[in-house]
Symmetry: C2
């Protein structure tokens, strides 16, 4: 275990690198050339249009205003300045609540730290069991501050048990209060968004086949009969893959057209010609403008034909539809009740936001869904516990001697000492690193296979899986050295109550490791996040080589988003570490507090200036966040019991047993008290509010496409024919359009 | 281990006793004097009024018709003859579905037995490992038929593994099919009962306090606003304990009045006087008829005053109400949705049947409810694993030497040899036996504390608890000798994967024990059930000493009911035994089949002729029954894995691992597919059916009493003033009364 000195050195390095990142960021962000990388959100909002234009050409790229350099840390107070209601307005509730997770970390751990340093540290320090003079064993100062200093059978363990209770109840209090606040925020947010169409719309899946009617007619008849007074309209989902590729092609051509038009405007004399053959390298020379115009026109026609074909083709109709109601009350009734005696057809649920719908999963049959979930559960188990197997395989294939045998001509290169050691040293690590980089993608793919219908749901499910992975492979894997599979193997061969003992026993010894981990992953990692190195580089590469039109430049921005599925489980690791070590080795707590504080600052800045969320779920993820913190709490309590039971403190162990029971009970209380607000919609709140707008689900020429191409495309297409209308799917607060109340509006036929 | 001979002897004894019970039953049941014991259901239905009256006085008591003795086994085919729809009509869906559990046992185990005897028994028998000549060990014939005969590492285990798969899939098939059939039966049953008031009524609990309004006004305003088009009426629950005791007193006096009127009618000359003092032993002599008439009149007045007082006293009003709607659709909407943004107030759920309501639990606040559940969960854990502790305590107190010391005057009696050995031998057993007799009552009390609001819910929760107890203490306790606490202790000190091994290993050795258990508890026990020894004796005692009026005789009948909470978990033990031993020792299966067959016969007879169910839940217990059978299946698979892993058959163990995963998945599929039909009410089915009757919840002078006295009283009172109206609570299919549709009917004020 490292001594205080080692930690000091590590801290120094990490603080330096973190400060370095922050300094670089401070300088880089005020250069006009990087403006689109660090303020994309404002560009997307339309409030910032281009870099500062005052001054000469150089000032377009480099900031020469010295005064701004002096205020280079300005972004920090600026990030904190925006009040929460404005933040919600600006970035959405999801983002605003997301940064509250960091705040929650501060709320939980700052008082715990104060108390732990006031009570536990002195108690540990003054116990003399691990004195340096005894036995000459290399116990270091960290251990003198930890519970290990007490020695077996000490009466002082009662202090730790008392503190475990205090910490637990404090955590309960903060969690309960936070859940309450966020529930209120959510309900308030939903109530204020009068015109959100998804509050009037229900997603209906597994529509049974009717031999005499099309899906559309069937839906209309069913709801017109069963929800007579509230049914307004519906929109069936179509499978329009072929159409989507047409749209994509047209979009590319339109971009070229804009480019050549710009060229033409700059230099009207020059003749713009292109070759019609492959990649424009050979073939007949034609006038570029003319060529693109005619091709686009041709494509428009094809598109219309395709659209007609999709609508008239029964095979393209999916057994899923969005049904809108004329009041929230009607929609709530439909979404929250069972429609027929067979619970596997006419499944209704609240429709996700238009932007939030994951189209490919709308049409999965009920039985297939349960088979998919079974397979994914088994796959997750294997992924978590056996992920080292394929990596070890890759690593052994990457063995240099094998490569030499298979590809003998590489021998001279490999035999050299330089490359050899590099490859031998790095290859195994690289295989693992690549796997870990792709892990969130893999988990997301698994969630998609499970068949959830909203992006927010996918993110939530991915986060659960990722948390399991992190807990098993990062936390347990670090505490009990060895791969997850080895652990699993040793655990099932071990006595049941030995498992918490084994883990609990090694907990104090790993404190130094985790402190280092927090500094590397938490401090430096968060500082690197604010610098956005990858988007910065990518933007400049794209800007130099690919950007031809304003639209291209907009696309090159890549504002990114919060990526709940991969970032939230990592925060949870800090909660877990904090709760586990609060009683055992309180010295770890200040490091965690610094992490939470820094991360809060950075992410608040990012959601204000950078990230562009793809959807808005109204903080629907909070029950998951809450649940995982309670899980971490239970784990910490069980491990503490395990640890104490190895310290010949049997009565004290028994005294801790009520804690996990209480924590589980607390979880159920909170679940019953708050969770319904995240699933159901209270009938009282907006009971008779009437839907006034034509929602994106029911726009007349709206064909929702189930396809595998990118979502944006589909959304763009859903709204109309060109980029100009792309926002139908993205702008739920569009101009309201009055719908005759109470009357059922027949779905309009697609116009042209 | 017993040999086949031992089992033969045990079987002989038990068959004899079972046949003896049946013979006695056959003779006793046709005696007119016992008619009310064996056919109470028909008396309650009003289709049978008194014993056969033909012939002389003797024939009132003894059946002298010889021909009926010859047909003494007639009841068996008669029990099977009634077709199921008629059975549902006659005894209710609960009872009809309950006997289907036995039928399900037959459906699962008959094919499994055939297959096991065709395949597994020959395979086991021809394996020569446990030959009698080898080593002279006392392996017996039972073991030669079991899996133990194969010996470690045998290739023949693959046959057993294959059979485990076949049995599992067969069980899946039967369970799925049965679930489907019973769900259809339930929906059909509910749809046919047009006028069941609980289908239009919602129970609202946790009504928040309003400073300006009474509970009744608050409820009316809330629902009139939020469910404007469907709200019909409501009935607040009152706490009327004082009133209930008045009613009870009046009822007793009325019975005496009837008695004296009968006396007077028989012998008009005789003067009937009673003494007004204690127990009628001293005091002033008055005319009996006159006395009772005036007293009853007086009580009627008091009762009316009390009723007025209860209605006007705000303290007597409970924050719970039954709200009725003018359509099933409206009620479904209200019951299945959340009313306000705070999910802890205005909790709505489908109202239980009027007979099914458990009144004392209506008014428990939300937080108290969750605390109660926490405490009961902890209590259940201790009861299950530590129930031996208090019993051992009692037993040690009951130690004779201690008794001698405390009560020395008993010494001469105790010192005698006869009583001493009897007491020493029986006392410990008696303490345990008494505990086991009271166990269902204890568990029911725990369920009541948990705060469920319907009797059927209480029974279901009790059954879950009882099943846990039986599984731990009867099944595991028999397989691994020792108390549950010792097991728990040894299990937590044992390797996790050793637990199934330890249990699995002892499974084959306990086959003989369980065969004997099945014969004693199953065969003879069921045969004793049909004889109804306790009700028979009690009826004759009461009839001789206490019965004065026809009403008394009716009350002395005690038809009993199915007691789902205590009988169903015992059936589940047979499912568990059958599934565990199907692969291991198939010889046990025929015994289980005999049990299921006999029990089916007996219980079908009992529900037709004897039992009088207190409520009708529409087979709401089926998901529990299904879930426990799947649990038994998973347990059997895990134990088989444990057993095989001790037989040096590692690959085969791995081949079994998918089974529990599949079983758990199967459970979730069935849950998703069928369970909603037991919780929710489909909107389509009865969507616009209008409530035409005044339901028992909303009868005008209806005060529902929360009290601790017997339920019947309250129900009687709920309906009106005398016995004559007692059925309001019991007869939901009363004369329909038209209610103006669509208009809100103000709750009528109590008349009188």
């Amino acid at each position: 275990m490292g001594s205080l000195n080692d930690i000091g050195v590590a801290a120094g390095i990490n603080i330096l690198s973190a400060v370095g990142f922050l300094l670089v960021f401070a300088v880089v962000r005020i250069q006009p050339i990087n403006d689109r990388v660090y303020f994309p959100k404002w560009y997307l909002k339309g409030t910032r249009s281009s870099p500062r234009h005052i001054g000469n050409v150089l000032s377009k790229f480099v900031n020469a205003d010295v005064s701004t350099y002096l205020r280079f840390l300005n972004w920090m107070p600026a990030a904190l300045k925006m009040p929460e209601p404005e933040l919600i307005e600006h970035a959405g509730l999801d983002s605003a609540v997301y940064v509250r997770i960091y705040l929650l970390g501060l709320k939980i751990f700052v008082p715990i730290t104060v108390l732990a340093f006031a009570v536990l540290v002195p108690v540990n320090w003054t116990s003399a069991t691990l004195g340096d003079d005894e036995e000459g064993l290399s116990y270091d100062q960290i251990d003198k501050l930890s519970i290990s200093n007490l020695g077996p059978g000490s009466k002082r363990f009662w202090v730790h048990i008392g503190m475990a209770y205090v910490f637990t109840f404090w955590t309960f209090y903060v969690l309960y209060h936070e859940y309450k606040v966020i529930t209120t925020m959510r309900l308030h947010f939903l109530a204020n968004q009068n015109r959100r169409p998804d509050q009037f719309t229900v997603l209906v899946r597994n529509i049974p086949v009717d031999p005499d009617e099309t899906v559309g007619e069937h839906v209309e008849h069913f709801f017109a009969v069963n929800h007579r007074e509230h049914y307004l309209s519906h929109q069936v989902a179509y499978n329009a893959n072929a159409l989507a590729s047409l749209v994509k092609k047209k979009k590319g051509l339109q971009n070229w057209l804009v480019y050549y038009e710009n060229q033409h405007a700059k230099n009207p004399e020059k003749e713009l010609t292109i070759k019609t053959g492959l990649w424009g390298l050979w073939g007949e020379k034609v006038d570029a403008l003319q060529h693109y115009k005619t091709t686009i026109e041709e494509l428009c026609k094809q598109e219309d034909e395709g659209r007609q074909k999709v609508i008239s083709d029964p095979k393209a109709i999916m057994p899923a539809a969005f049904v809108s109601f004329n009041s929230q009350w009607g929609a709530a009734v439909c979404a929250q009740t069972q429609q027929t005696s067979n619970p596997t057809v006419w499944l209704t649920e609240w429709a996700p936001e238009p932007r939030d719908v994951y189209w490919p999963n709308l049409a999965i049959p009920f039985v297939e869904l349960s088979i998919r979930r079974l397979i994914m559960a088994v796959a997750l188990f294997f992924l978590t516990f056996f992920f080292m197997v394929p990596i070890a395989l890759v690593q052994s294939v990457a063995n240099l001697d094998d490569i030499e045998r298979v590809l003998p001509f590489l021998k001279p290169i490999i035999e050299r000492n330089g490359p050899r050691s590099v490859i031998q040293g790095f290859l195994p690590g690289i295989a693992l690193k690549i796997f870990l980089i792709f892990l969130p993608t893999i988990l997301m793919a698994m969630s998609k296979i499970e068949g959830h219908v909203s992006l927010s749901g996918l993110e939530r499910k991915t986060a659960s899986k990722y948390f399991l992975f992190i807990f098993v492979n990062v936390f347990l894997g670090s505490v009990v050295a060895g791969t997850a599979f080895q652990q699993l193997n040793s655990f099932i061969h071990q006595s049941t109550n030995k498992i918490p003992e084994t883990i609990g026993e090694s907990i104090p010894m790993k404190a130094t490791f985790f402190i280092t981990y927090i500094m590397v992953d938490g401090w430096a990692g968060i500082a690197a996040e604010v610098l956005r190195l990858k988007p910065l580089i990518m933007f400049h590469i794209k800007n130099t080589f690919l950007v031809r039109t304003e639209q291209d430049r907009e696309q090159a921005m890549d504002p990114g988003s919060l990526e709940f599925g991969s970032t939230e489980p990592r925060i949870q690791l800090y909660f877990l570490l904090g709760l586990v070590y609060a009683v055992v080795t309180p010295i770890i707590l200040p490091f965690i507090i610094v992490f939470f504080g820094l991360a809060y600052l950075v992410f608040r800045h990012q959601i204000i200036n950078v990230y562009n969320q793809q959807y808005e779920s109204g903080a629907q993820f909070w029950p998951d966040v809450h649940g995982r913190i309670v899980t971490a709490l239970v784990i910490s309590q069980i491990l503490l019991i395990g640890l104490l039971s190895t310290q010949e403190a049997d009565q004290s162990t028994v005294a801790l047993l009520p804690l996990p029971v209480l924590a589980i009970w607390f979880h159920y209380v909170c679940k019953g008290r708050f969770e319904p607000a995240y699933i159901k919609f209270p009938l009282q709140a907006g009971s008779k509010r009437i839907l006034l707008i034509s929602s994106p689900y029911i726009t007349a020429d709206d064909i929702h496409i189930v396809s595998n191409v990118k979502r944006e495309l589909r959304l763009m297409f859903a709204g109309g024919h060109g980029e100009g209308h792309a926002a139908t799917g993205k702008r739920p607060d569009a101009e309201p359009e009055r719908v005759p109340q109470g009357r059922i509006r027949a779905p309009r036929l697609p116009q042209r």
